[in-house]
């Protein structure tokens, strides 16, 4: 048996709605989180991420299934006896306590002496960049400051497992990066395991050991960031994570032929010789330059070029009217200027970078 810190077995939860139907927030989820792993939950709004965290911390009671933490069955264990701390999506700071009292709460409850507690509180606040704000009330803080207090409060007692529900969503890029580094440090130095919810995909991909993509209360794919991005299991994962160009068609030994006549080259392998499939090409795998002339290409008419900081997004369509998105590094200024004039581009790609999704995988 693997050494998992959290294990869900058939965890299921359904909420009744006023409309008289019901929402399946967790649909018989099986999940193992390894000790000292950093697992990220990704998924559309309302897919059940918060519900999953709350089931682990004990605030949502499962309709069915079991939860084991650190090998012990916790399904019926009250929240305060689970070795888990949470950063709540809405922070849930205690309004009647100061920032210092909020932050030190877990220690106070654990009976840590005041002097020691205050030292640790100061250190935790320091870590989240709120030094000296001990005396404030939560309502005297900005949104991002509140979120950082929630973070400091959850990590101060160094639980075995930290559940973080979009813990950095209200922070600016620099602070966010600093916090990311702090969290990774906690992981490596203290051996804390993390389950992390975020909508920032870059964050998910950089921080995680594994990523679980959820949809409709089900895990669509649980894999390393690389595999999630490069080899999505199904087209939901492909379109949900990162930008994507998907071409559906018939496989024909190295060529995928769509109904409208577009042909995509790919490197055939076992199981990818014939049948229906979708070919995934990430926008950054489409190059605007003429380089690598032996590569296959798509000719597109350019609709829009959008500046997004480090790159441009190119939105266009093929002669057949199929929409195509490409990402042009901002470094390639010259090409950008050219495209802006001609409104045409030849987008080449490496067949090895084309990922095929068998249509039978798309039963979602």
């Amino acid at each position: 048996m693997r050494d998992s810190i959290v294990r869900l077995e058939g965890a299921a939860k359904t909420f009744p709605t006023p409309e008289g139907q019901s929402v399946t927030a967790l649909d018989a989820i099986d999940l193992d989180v390894d000790r000292n792993e950093f697992l990220t939950l990704l998924g559309p709004s309302g897919c059940g991420k918060t519900t999953l965290l709350q089931a682990i911390s004990g605030f949502v009671e499962l309709d069915a299934g079991r939860i084991l933490i650190d090998g012990e069955d916790m399904t019926t264990r009250p929240p305060y006896r689970r070795p888990v701390n949470t950063v709540f999506q809405n922070y849930a700071l205690f309004p009647h306590m100061t920032v210092g009292e909020n932050t030190g709460y877990a220690l106070e409850v654990a009976g840590v002496a005041k002097a020691e507690r205050m030292k640790q509180v100061a250190a935790a606040l320091d870590m989240v960049g709120l030094t000296g704000m001990e005396g404030r009330r939560p309502r005297q803080l900005s949104g991002g400051q509140q979120q950082r207090v929630a973070l400091a409060r959850a990590i101060i007692a160094r639980p075995k497992l930290l559940l973080l529900d979009e813990p950095l969503s209200a922070l600016d890029k620099n602070l966010r990066q600093a916090m990311q580094i702090e969290l990774k440090t906690l992981q490596s130095e203290l051996g804390i395991s993390f389950i992390f919810v975020t909508h920032d995909q870059q964050e998910a991909l950089t921080m995680s050991d594994r990523v679980a993509v959820l949809s409709g209360g089900r895990i669509q794919q649980l894999d390393t960031p690389r595999n999630i991005y490069d080899r999505p299991n199904n087209s939901f994962v492909a379109t949900f994570v990162g930008a994507s160009n998907l071409f559906e068609g018939q496989m024909d030994n190295g060529w995928l032929l769509t109904s409208d006549g577009t042909a995509i080259r790919y490197v055939p392998s076992v199981g990818n010789v014939s049948g229906k499939a979708k070919a995934l090409i990430r926008p950054e795998q489409l190059f605007i330059s003429g380089e690598g002339r032996d590569h296959p290409f798509l000719d597109v008419e350019v609709e829009q070029l959008v500046f997004v900081g480090s790159s441009f997004e190119l939105f266009g369509h093929t002669a057949e009217g199929r929409k195509v998105t490409a990402e042009i590094p901002a470094g390639r200024r010259s090409f950008v200027g050219e495209v802006e004039q001609t409104r045409k581009a030849r987008l080449s790609y490496d067949p090895a970078a084309v990922h095929l999704i068998r249509c039978d995988a798309d039963g979602i």
């Binding site: 004990g58 009671e61 399904t75 019926t76 264990r77 009250p78």
Partner: protein
């Protein structure tokens, strides 16, 4: 133990003491009253152990013609008491609600001190408090003396022994009853919601009706209940400030137990009042349960 099991234990821990307490010390008396209301009155108070439904007939319209007659006068007394209690509720609400807002915005320490200040006068005896109002309102009382001296009136006004005086006195003694629950819910009002409403173009009045009022409704409802019920049965104020010239529900019931020595009829009257109020309250509980699960739980 399962989580549901733990919850049952907690629920039991919270409810058992009161349930036991009520089962013994309230259900006991209640049963005694219900049984009494179906018995015949003893000649000198107490009861005779015969089944006798006509206590209710006297109120509701079926009567034992040989002994008791139906009398609509009891319904009239009930309605009159209802009216005064309703006025009292409205008046106390008007007196307390704005003050609750003001006090809720003070600092923590001052808030509690103000709560204390509101109840402080009520540490003195009810009767003392009411007699002071006699002192103020009577013909030769302070109000009249001042008005006369100021030349505003040339004859003393009839202030005391009026319905107005009754309501005034009721308001005075029921202020904390309304204030406490209203304050409890006003104090926790989330002002960001008020901001959101103003932001969406709702003026102060609209915001008050659509946001502030519904969010503080539990307090208002609580206050209304604990003012209305005692006010309905109160007879001290009508006696002291109303001159006992009219009969209130409370008087009527007391009179049955004391001077008329008719315990069963008194119990039957009490039962009727309780049932009427319980029906109202149950409707209220149901309604508030269905309307916003979050506001009234």
């Amino acid at each position: 133990m399962s989580l549901a099991g733990r919850r049952r234990v907690q629920l039991a821990l919270l409810l058992t003491p009161v349930s036991l307490f009520f089962a013994v010390f309230f259900l006991g008396p209640l049963t005694i009253m219900i049984v009494t209301s179906f018995l015949a009155p003893g000649l000198y108070g107490g009861v005779e152990w015969v089944f006798y439904p006509h206590n209710y007939g006297r109120i509701l319209g079926f009567a034992d013609p040989a002994f008791e007659i139906f009398d609509p006068v009891y319904l009239a007394i009930f309605l009159r008491s209802l009216k005064i209690a309703a006025f009292t509720v409205i008046a106390t609400l008007f007196v307390c609600y704005p003050a609750a807002f003001c006090i809720a915005r003070l600092s923590e320490r001052w808030k509690n001190f103000c709560l204390f200040l509101i109840t402080l006068p009520f540490f003195t005896s009810l009767i003392v408090r009411l007699f002071i109002w006699v002192l103020i309102l009577r013909q030769t009382g302070i109000v009249n003396e001042v008005l006369l001296a100021g030349g505003i009136i040339d004859r003393p006004l009839e202030l005391i022994y009026t319905d107005g005086a009754i309501v005034l006195g009721m308001v005075y003694i029921f202020i904390p009853f309304m204030f406490m629950p209203v304050y409890a819910s006003v104090e926790k009002l989330d002002w960001t919601l008020v901001r959101a409403s103003l932001d969406l173009g709702a003026g102060p009045i609209r915001t008050f009706i659509r946001i502030i009022l519904p969010l503080t409704a539990p307090g208002i409802a609580g206050g209304a209940i604990i003012v209305f019920i005692p006010a309905l049965g109160n007879f001290v104020v009508p006696a002291v400030l109303g001159g006992a010239k009219v009969m209130m529900l409370g008087n009527l019931i007391e009179q049955q137990f004391l001077s008329a020595r008719n315990w069963p009829f008194g119990s039957a009257l009490a039962m009727m009042v309780m049932c009427a109020m319980l029906v109202l309250l149950f409707v209220y509980v149901l309604a508030s349960g269905r309307r916003g699960a979050d506001v009234m739980n």
